[in-house]
């Protein structure tokens, strides 16, 4: 899509249109194809002929017409091959949960949420959930999704195709998940948005440190879910977390694209508006019930963002928040961050002792982050030869070029000092 304004107009409409078409005609997989073609048609026609009076209606009409065409050739082909498309109704259609029979008109908001739940269906791998969410809900083309994940377009097309087939095979009806499983399914949705954000913010591979479009897309989708479920604390927490983290984006890379650690960042380059919004969101969420992991992570990000300088950081509070987080969502990354906070409060040696315990965890032993943190703490403790070795060990274990450059530079600096 070339014209940015058309894209801005189309992207929020994409899930509404897909929702309307699937709700009316079914065929999630084929309808998704038809909607993409309608979006492409709009992207070429609207800049030339003008935007129709009712853009959403236009897209639905074009997509429905295209769906008819696609189904027609699909059915004709099947008939030629003498294969009939039959499927057995899943049990959930025969005995739907009582709360699934909701009367009244479904809104566009419901449709978008249902699509998110479908795309993040537990039958799919995380990679497929992410790809499908970006295409079906985010309105990105396969080429754009492929570019964001640095894989060939054909690979991404196959991944999305398989994901749609699995959704179809799973027989999930176009409806909200039953109340009993809704919290768990929403957790999967938030996790996918979190992964998209992280992929954009801290790219796991490739030459560029930040793939900002992915982070921006994750924030846009988190905003959308927050608008649909404004009273859910974890949704608010995730939106706050992404805003508060992304606020530091500009300061995070130096003039040559190198990574700048938070302690050395120019805080005047932090996005004050995003910080204010994130802080307001997390403050409202924390006041309204037990805090989940996204809220706690957002609270930690807020403490960092509110510190006028690295020295002014309220580390005891960050340490306390990590301790809370460890209690509800214990994982090695949380423990690693906790160790950093402990080192800042009680000294590098205490932090290093915690790291020793962590390095026996197989999930973390080969992770570059463990070695990078060890390097920093050893440097803080004044043990430069060991710090240098740790930085080099970290550099060997990351695929991200900017991170490799950063770690090797830290190691080199210590060697020169010596």
């Amino acid at each position: 899509m070339s014209d940015a304004w058309v894209e801005d107009l189309l992207r929020p409409l994409a899930p509404q249109v897909l929702g309307a078409v699937v709700r009316r005609y079914g065929h999630f997989d084929t309808a998704e194809e038809a909607v993409q073609e309608a979006l492409l048609a709009a992207a070429t026609q609207w800049p030339r002929d003008g935007v129709p009076d009712n853009p959403r209606g236009w897209l639905i009409t074009v997509a429905a017409r295209r769906l008819t065409d696609l189904l027609r050739s699909e059915q004709a082909r099947r008939r030629r091959e003498d294969a009939v498309a039959t499927w057995t109704l899943p049990e959930q259609w025969l005995a739907p949960a009582a709360d699934a029979r909701v009367a009244g008109r479904a809104s566009d908001a419901d449709d978008t949420l249902i699509l998110l739940f479908m795309c993040c269906h537990p039958a799919l791998s995380a990679a497929s959930q992410i790809a499908l969410t970006l295409r079906a809900v985010g309105g990105l083309t396969t080429a754009e999704v492929a570019r964001a994940f640095l894989v060939p377009e054909a690979t991404m097309a196959r991944r999305i195709g398989r994901a749609k087939q699995r959704i179809k095979d799973s027989g999930v009806p176009f409806a909200m998940p039953a109340a009993a499983e809704r919290a768990e399914r929403l957790g999967a949705v938030l996790h996918v948005l979190y992964l998209i954000f992280n992929e954009g913010y801290a790219s796991t591979s490739g030459p560029s440190l930040q793939r900002t479009e992915l982070a921006a897309e994750a924030i846009r989708l988190a905003r959308l879910v927050h608008r649909l479920l404004p009273s859910d604390g974890e949704v608010t927490g995730l939106l706050a977390l992404t805003l508060l983290t992304d606020a530091r984006r500009l300061a995070r890379t130096g003039p040559d694209g190198e990574l700048v650690p938070m302690a050395e960042q120019d805080r005047s380059r932090w996005n004050a508006q995003a910080i204010a919004e994130g802080v307001a969101l997390i403050t409202s969420a924390l006041g309204s019930g037990p805090a989940g992991p996204y809220q706690l992570q957002a609270a930690i990000a807020a403490v960092h963002d509110e510190a006028a300088s690295a020295e002014a950081t309220d580390w005891p509070q960050i340490m306390a928040l990590y301790e809370l987080l460890m209690r509800i969502s214990d994982n090695p990354m949380v423990r690693l961050n906790h160790a950093v906070a402990v080192a800042m409060v009680h000294g590098a040696r205490v932090g290093l002792e915690l790291l020793e315990k962590l390095s026996t965890d197989d999930r973390l032993a080969e992770d570059h982050r463990l070695h990078a943190v060890r390097g920093h703490l050893l440097e803080m403790a004044g043990d430069h030869p060991a710090a240098c070795a740790a930085y080099q060990a970290a550099a060997d274990r990351t695929r991200s070029l900017p991170q490799q450059r950063y770690l090797n530079a830290r190691a080199a600096r210590l060697t020169v000092d010596r």
Binding site: Y25, H27, T68, L71, Q75, A76, T86, L89, L94
Partner: protein
């Protein structure tokens, strides 16, 4: 007394109406507009006479799900069960009027609907009395 007037079309007829010749001729924009105009006037007249209960047109036959296997309790769904030349229900009117003959008169006026010649040659409508109660179905 209530009657149902039923009209039929194949997927190929729908294709033609959508402007694509796949076995039947493609309708021109004027053809399509003329039919629309006729139907609006036809329905309006029925409404004004108080005889129209409801009228609907159905989406193209490819958008059909057939649910079979109802008897042994294992429903099996077939997407698009019709061959593209098969004539299937395309639209209906439910009218409430004096007699079967009056309903027939109403249905016969559909013959005046302007459609391309080749389509007109095959077109037909059925009129069927609607059972008002279980007793009507007793034989």
């Amino acid at each position: 007394m209530k009657y149902m007037i039923l009209t039929y079309a194949s997927q190929q007829d729908y294709d033609g109406m959508a402007g694509k010749a796949t076995g039947k001729p493609a309708w021109s924009a004027q053809d399509f507009a003329a039919m629309g105009e006729f139907m609006v006037a036809f329905n309006k007249e029925l409404e004004e006479s108080g005889e129209l209960v409801e009228t609907r047109g159905l989406a193209a036959p490819v958008h059909t799900r057939r649910i079979a296997g109802l008897i042994n309790g294992l429903p099996v769904v077939t997407d698009g069960p019709y061959a593209e030349t098969q004539e299937v229900l395309a639209g209906y009117w439910i009218v409430e009027c004096q007699s079967f003959d009056r309903a027939t008169e109403i249905a016969a006026r559909l013959a005046k609907c302007p459609v391309p010649d080749l389509v007109a040659a095959d077109a037909y409508a059925d009129v069927r009395p609607i059972a008002e109660s279980g007793a009507d179905l007793d034989v």
